[in-house]
């Protein structure tokens, strides 16, 4: 019977409905997703630095391409063509040690030549450690080149 009365009432009179807000967007907080996950990316700005002396950065000093040595580089290299013809450019290499002048070769060849040239001087008596080192190195290289490694490919 009550349903009948409520039904008749709803047809005749409808109450005004006011929407009351209790939850606002500004009060909304971020939801915690992936709970327990710790992000390892640094979001804090500059990395922490220590005060005091910074690492030394050398001042850039460009070299002068027109210094005397560089400006006249290569002079007299064609002296056997353009000169009187009796002088070879190898003879003009004054700043190179005498055992390397005009020699191209393996370390063993150059060291052997150096030893032969130094044997005539006072080096064996005045620099015994150095002389011994040269002997040791020569023996090592001899054994290595002749017994342990192959020579290059044979000419075909």
């Amino acid at each position: 019977m009550s349903w009948l009365t409520s039904r008749i009432l709803s047809v005749v009179w409808k109450p005004t409905v006011n929407v009351v807000r209790t939850r606002y967007h500004a009060d909304k907080k971020r939801l915690v997703r992936r709970y327990g996950y710790q992000e390892k990316i640094w979001r804090g700005g500059l990395l922490p630095r220590s005060e005091g002396k910074a690492l030394p950065i050398p001042e850039y000093r460009p070299d002068n391409p027109w210094s005397v040595r560089k400006a006249l580089f290569g002079q007299n290299d064609y002296i056997d063509i353009l000169g009187p013809g009796n002088l070879h450019p190898v003879k003009t290499l004054y700043n190179i040690p005498s055992w390397i002048r005009g020699v191209s070769g393996h370390e063993y060849h150059i060291l052997l030549r150096k030893k032969k040239m130094w044997a005539k001087t006072g080096t064996p008596r005045l620099r015994p450690t150095k002389w011994k080192e040269i002997q040791k190195r020569l023996s090592f290289l001899y054994r290595k080149l002749n017994r342990k490694t192959k020579t290059g490919p044979s000419p075909i």
Partner: protein, 290 residues
């Protein structure tokens, strides 16, 4: 009979087509020296006595300029041999020459000590077995910090080699030809300057649009006082004798200035080598046979 006449006519036609113009042009100059006057200027044109006459290519004509004034004045005309100053441009030969010049005198002094040379390390650091550590024989092996280097650089490594004689010869001719073809070669009567100030040379180079760097080649070892004093302060203007000429310097300096005597001397020397028997020089380089 008919066939021989045909052969003769074919031969004559072939000879006509040969265009012997250089010799004909030279022969047309009646006297040895022809002087022409235009207004106040006199230009001397000299007929050249060729030791090795150019047969297949025309000789190159170059103005003779002066160094007396800042402005350019043309004093004469000279002919240069095409085999030296009009050779085909071979960039690979120029490259080989530059690489040779840079490398043949270079000795690398980088050096590392081997395990035998590093101080210490004769004793076995710990017994072979029992410790649970890796087995070692010396504390200076390449495996150790502070130990020797196994295959490191060894001092006094030479990069010496000799380029074949004809490659160096043609390097010179190609570079000279390239300089002439690119308007970077100037022939000058002599090196007499009016003043010994460096500013005069700077103004001269600026006025004539020569490159900032100038290489001056003289016939002899000694040059007049004014030009040596002027170039002393200018590092990019250098004077060399004829035997100091080389491909690297010619490429490093933008402009090449030759005196007339120097140009002729270079031509004479290079032509001599181009026409002589170079078999001895072409053989493999041996230090005791230089």
């Amino acid at each position: 009979m008919k066939s021989s006449l045909n052969m003769a006519s074919i031969l004559i036609n072939a000879i006509k087509r040969l265009h012997l113009s250089p010799q004909i042009r030279l022969c047309s100059l009646n006297s040895a020296a022809v002087t022409t006057t235009t207004a106040n200027k006199t230009i001397n044109i000299l007929k050249k006595e060729w030791e090795f006459p150019p047969l297949y290519t025309k000789p190159r004509e170059v103005w003779i300029e002066n160094l007396d004034t800042v402005e350019e004045k043309k004093l004469g005309l000279i002919e240069l041999h095409p085999m030296v100053y009009a050779a085909p441009p071979r960039i690979d030969i120029i490259h080989s020459n530059v690489i040779w010049q840079r490398k043949y005198r270079w000795v690398s002094w980088a050096h590392t000590k081997t395990r035998a040379e590093v101080r210490g390390g004769g004793k076995k650091p710990w017994p072979q077995k029992g410790l649970g550590r890796a087995r070692h024989g010396s504390i200076r092996s390449p495996l150790f910090r502070g130990g020797g280097v196994a295959h490191g650089p060894r001092s006094g490594k030479s990069h010496f080699f000799m380029l074949p004689f004809h490659l160096r010869l043609h390097g010179l001719t190609t570079t000279l030809s390239a300089k002439l073809a690119q308007d970077d070669l100037h022939i000058v009567k002599d090196l007499e300057l009016p003043t010994d100030e460096s500013q005069y040379l700077v103004d001269l180079i600026e006025n004539r649009n020569w490159g900032p760097a100038v290489l001056i080649i003289d016939d002899t070892d000694y040059a007049p006082r004014n030009i040596t004093a002027a170039t002393d302060n200018l590092l990019h203007v250098n004077i060399m004798p004829v035997y100091g000429l080389n491909v690297y310097s010619m490429l490093k300096h933008d402009t090449l200035v030759l005196t007339q005597a120097a140009a002729e001397k270079i031509e004479e020397k290079l032509l001599y080598h181009l026409h002589s028997d170079n078999r001895e020089r072409m053989k493999k380089f041996k230090i005791d046979q230089v």
